[in-house]
């Protein structure tokens, strides 16, 4: 039986299309309006609300919580004091990424970790002698993301401390009398917040929040709009841009954090004495320069894109709908040099953009590659330039 999120009664009423995905066995709206682009623009121009409740959520408590997480998570959790959150990942012994997620340091010796896949056994089996408890609280908490330039002003009407909360900050507050945790995080690459709500309070909090935002151009947004937002924001999606090493069949489907562009998580590695899982492999990779790929953005050359279609007598299609497939990349000698995994036409950039991995020597910003596409059912190459991720990065995101 497919499950429903704690907000389903409300999201169902708003879902004009009745198009749903099954996300972690739970109904998640693909789009509420007929046009996902409307929802996308609501986020970029006003604000949007996304029900992210199907994520797995783990509460990690105990006096050894930090020590435990220091050994499990690849990014140094000790650099995340209470009241802050961290984007992190965990690796296997070979230094390949198992998963990524956001961890909230909600209080002393208390953390809340999200993941796309279940990880209870993986974490639980590694507790050892640590004084740590791991609870799967996926069903106990509903989560709503409020994202977009108006999100701060809207949320602070209800939770005044939002005025001051920094990027990746965490605070407790009340909405409609119900206690909530709010983190300044999200998956849109915009100014935005995520609200963590006890399941019994979910509908009440939704109603309070929703009513307070009337007339502000806020729309609920679904997975389709989220996909557009996260590609512009350069945020990777598991099973689209990379796979979990736990279930991969071979190393071609595995990636190291360096290959995924997360090297910045380890910039203080030298002064960090943790023995975390994958550390040795990571150090070897850096020392021996064995990374196979560099994760980058791609911006397609619009003139070249138009050219291949015009020469074929076609109007160049510019569809904002992301295509999550492997798109082969070649150099000018038609040698394969990488592949793109998420491709779309970006309304904010007015260009086709992609998240792609290229051979490390082509990782330099501005390098030229060619993306293979099909026009009139024949392969064609379109020039593209390697760009820095995120491709869209408004100042307000971190301001």
């Amino acid at each position: 039986m497919i499950r429903k999120t704690p907000f389903h009664e409300r999201t169902n009423a708003l879902n004009e299309t009745q198009l749903w995905s099954h996300w972690s066995g739970t109904l998640a709206a693909n789009r509420y309006q007929v046009s996902d682009k409307m929802e996308y623009f609501a986020v970029r121009n006003a604000a949007g609300v996304f029900d992210s409740s199907p994520l797995y959520k783990y509460r990690i408590t105990g006096k050894d919580a930090e020590a435990f997480l220091s050994g499990i998570l690849a990014r140094d959790i000790r650099a995340c004091p209470a009241g802050h959150a961290q984007y992190t990942c965990w690796l296997d012994d070979s230094g390949y990424v198992i998963e990524d997620g956001v961890i909230l340091h909600t209080a002393k010796d208390e953390y809340l970790l999200t993941s796309a896949e279940p990880n209870h056994a993986y974490f639980g089996d590694r507790i050892g002698r640590h004084d740590v408890t791991i609870e799967d609280v996926s069903d106990d908490l509903g989560t709503l993301a409020l994202q977009g330039p108006r999100s701060r002003d809207l949320l602070k009407k209800l939770v005044p401390q939002m005025e001051k909360i920094p990027y990746f900050g965490v605070a407790k507050g009340e909405i409609g009398g119900a206690g909530v945790t709010v983190s300044r995080t999200g998956y849109s690459g915009d100014l935005g917040y995520e609200v963590w709500i006890d399941t019994p309070d979910a509908l009440h909090v939704w109603d309070t929040l929703w009513d307070s935002m009337e007339g502000h151009g806020v729309l609920p947004f679904g997975l389709a709009a989220l996909e557009m937002l996260r590609i512009e924001a350069g945020l990777l999606l598991m099973e689209a841009d990379f796979d979990s090493s736990r279930y991969a069949w071979n190393d071609a489907h595995r990636s190291t954090p360096i290959e995924l562009g997360w090297g910045w998580m380890f910039k203080d590695l030298k002064g960090d004495d943790r023995a975390f899982i994958g550390r040795k492999a990571l150090e070897r990779e850096v020392a021996d320069k064995t990374s196979r790929w560099a994760m980058r953005g791609l911006i397609l050359d619009w003139q070249d894109y138009d050219r291949v279609y015009n020469e074929a007598g076609l109007i160049p299609p510019k569809d904002h709908t992301p295509v999550l497939e492997d798109w082969m990349l070649y150099d000018d000698e038609y040698k394969r040099v990488g592949y793109a995994t998420s491709l779309m036409y970006s309304p904010m950039l007015q260009r086709h953009i992609a998240i792609a991995r290229v051979r490390p020597d082509l990782g330099k910003i501005g390098s030229k590659v060619n993306l293979e596409t099909t026009v009139n059912h024949q392969y064609e190459l379109v020039a593209a330039n390697v760009a820095r991720l995120p491709l869209y990065n408004p100042e307000r995101k971190t301001a």
């Binding site: 309006q33 121009n45 330039p149 007339g215 904010m348 007015q350």
Partner: protein, 569 residues
């Protein structure tokens, strides 16, 4: 109360950021400081595009604007605290896509918001409501006429084929058919060859649209009046034709050849209206190094021995450059800014008979809430795009009948847009701004004038709206009426024509604005034209500004760097 509107000022402010612009009080005094490589007269969208391209090419460029902010007819004004009115121009589609890239507009806030609906209320509670779901739209059309459902698909396909054929024309300098230069004939041959390759149906449709009436074309496809009324509405915009006039096909085609976000024929609201867009252009132009001076009405172009050397302002001060570009309409460019005696007689004569005949007005409203359309209720859902008050071709043609005989339509065509439904920054929460484009309102009225009739027009529009949206009048917090005379007085467009010259075949392409002068040059060396009175014409295309810049840069390259060296000395 919203707190996110970025610039909140007293009523009667605009979204014009004045950062980087100079007002008259601070202009420089020494001659060297007042000397530029290029001066652009007029800070409308084409002037800004032109100035930006010239600055990008390294020219020391000055854009001179008469008013206290740039934008020309593409401005957004806060006429009431929190309510932002698109005073004149209100939507985007024909903007040439390469301008977005060349001028890096996305860096400066370019944001074409999707309009998701087309709503055409009919008489007696009937309506046509189209949205973003193709299949749903076909069903909606079938609700009115089963015949028209697939006819609509065929029509759209046929129009797309024609648009694809003529699209390159929008981005090219018209070949000079009067020249002996083989390059011009080569360009003409290339163009001919393009049309030669078209299939019979598309070529014939192209000719039918370029020369015939919208009514004849639409009658071949459709039965239903409401559908025909909606589609025919774009055949009359800004031009003194009815849908049954020969020539209305061209206007229809023109309004379909644009695109936004790469979607052919689609229209968008720019964030914060078209004034939001010209602010983006202004920032881009300045980022490339162009300077903008405001509140500086230009009196005339200074010439010496048939060469432009600068401009004289109304206050007597002067700026100097050997390249001067007028973004004003052809009448002002040739008959006012320069002495017509310096121009060939045939040009003067052609400009004198160039038709303006403004027939459009704007009536803008600040509303206390969303209008009520009883069959669909009082909600914003069906107002997230254009709302078309033109329920049949007969309705439009009768509206035109009034104008033919010198009066404004008693049941006018109205293109409504409640932009605040998709851009919350345009009005306070729960309130709305509504832009109404009105036709027909001829510039020259029989036995009256616009100063007398202005508010009567407002009442006529309001009364018309009341027919469709009962209780509309109770929602009105403020009303702003902008007649062709207001457009002429405020923006400077002759006779208030929104396209800087009507879209008649003899005023297009090779002949825009006059035979032999369609390549942005003028008979005066160094004096150029880049306004909507040149190809590809009106609407917010930016094409004239861009194509003119290309010609200027080509000419400068030909004449060497002599001029630049002197002006920078």
């Amino acid at each position: 109360m919203t707190t996110t509107i970025p610039t909140k000022r007293s009523p009667k402010s605009t979204n014009g950021s004045r950062a980087g612009t100079t007002s008259r009080s601070t202009v420089r005094s020494s001659r060297a400081d007042r000397t530029y490589d290029a001066i652009v007269v007029g800070g409308g969208h084409n002037g800004l595009v032109n100035g930006a391209y010239l600055a990008k090419a390294g020219l020391k460029t000055l854009i001179i604007e008469r008013r206290e902010f740039v934008g020309g007819a593409a401005i957004t004004e806060e006429l009431r605290p929190g309510f932002w009115f698109t005073t004149f121009s209100y939507a985007l589609s024909l903007l040439r896509p390469d301008i977005i890239h060349d001028l890096e507009l996305t860096k400066h806030g370019f944001m074409p918001l999707l309009m998701s609906t087309l709503f055409a209320p009919g008489e007696n509670g009937d309506y046509l409501l189209l949205g973003q779901d193709h299949g749903e739209n076909i069903r909606e059309i079938a609700r009115h006429s089963k015949h028209d459902a697939d006819a609509y698909e065929q029509y759209n396909h046929d129009i797309e084929m024609v648009c694809q054929a003529i699209k390159p024309v929008m981005d090219m300098v018209p070949p000079d058919i009067f020249s002996d230069d083989p390059e011009e004939w080569l360009a003409l041959a290339r163009l001919g060859n393009r049309f030669k390759k078209l299939d019979k149906r598309t070529l014939h449709n192209t000719v039918r649209l370029l020369t015939g009436s919208a009514a004849d074309f639409l009658d071949d496809y459709f039965d239903n009046d409401l559908i025909k009324g909606y589609l025919a509405s774009s055949s009359i915009i800004g031009t003194k034709v009815g849908p049954r006039s020969q020539g209305s096909g061209l206007v229809l085609l023109y309004h379909n050849v644009g695109e936004h976000d790469g979607i052919f024929g689609s229209w968008a609201f720019h964030k914060k209206g078209n004034g939001g867009f010209t602010q983006v252009l202004s920032r881009a132009a300045q980022a490339f190094g162009a300077e903008i001076v405001l509140e500086s009405p230009v009196d005339s172009i200074i010439t010496k021995n048939g060469q432009a050397t600068g401009v004289a302002l109304k206050d007597g001060s002067e700026y100097y450059a050997d390249t001067v570009v007028s973004s004003l309409d052809p009448r002002r460019t040739f008959l006012e800014l320069v002495n017509p005696r310096e121009l060939p007689d045939d040009l003067v004569e052609n400009i004198q008979r160039f038709r303006f005949q403004g027939t459009s007005s704007k009536v803008n409203f600040a509303l206390d809430g969303i209008p009520n359309f009883p069959p669909l209720g009082q909600k914003p859902d069906h107002f997230r795009g254009f709302t078309n008050i033109g329920p049949s071709m007969d309705y439009l043609e009768r509206a035109y009948d009034d104008a033919k005989y010198g009066w404004y339509s008693q049941n006018p065509y109205i293109d409504m847009a409640i932009q605040s439904t998709i851009d919350a920054d345009m009005a306070p929460p729960g309130k709305h701004v509504m832009s109404c484009f009105i036709q027909y309102t001829p510039y020259k009225l029989r036995e009256s004038d616009w100063d007398t009739e202005k508010e009567n027009l407002g009442d006529t529009v309001q009364r018309t709206l009341e027919n469709y949206f009962p209780g509309f009048g109770n929602l009105v917090l403020q009303r702003e009426v902008r007649t062709p005379l207001d457009i002429e007085r405020t923006v400077g467009l002759s006779e208030g024509n929104i396209f800087a010259g009507e879209f008649f075949a003899p005023q297009m392409f090779f002949f825009r604005p006059a035979p032999g002068w369609s390549q942005y040059r003028t008979p005066i060396d160094g004096y150029y034209q880049c306004g909507s009175g040149t190809h590809p014409g009106g609407c917010v295309t930016g094409g004239p500004g861009k194509l003119a810049a290309g010609q200027i840069l080509k000419d400068r390259a030909k004449s060497g760097s002599k001029a630049r060296a002197t002006s920078r000395a």
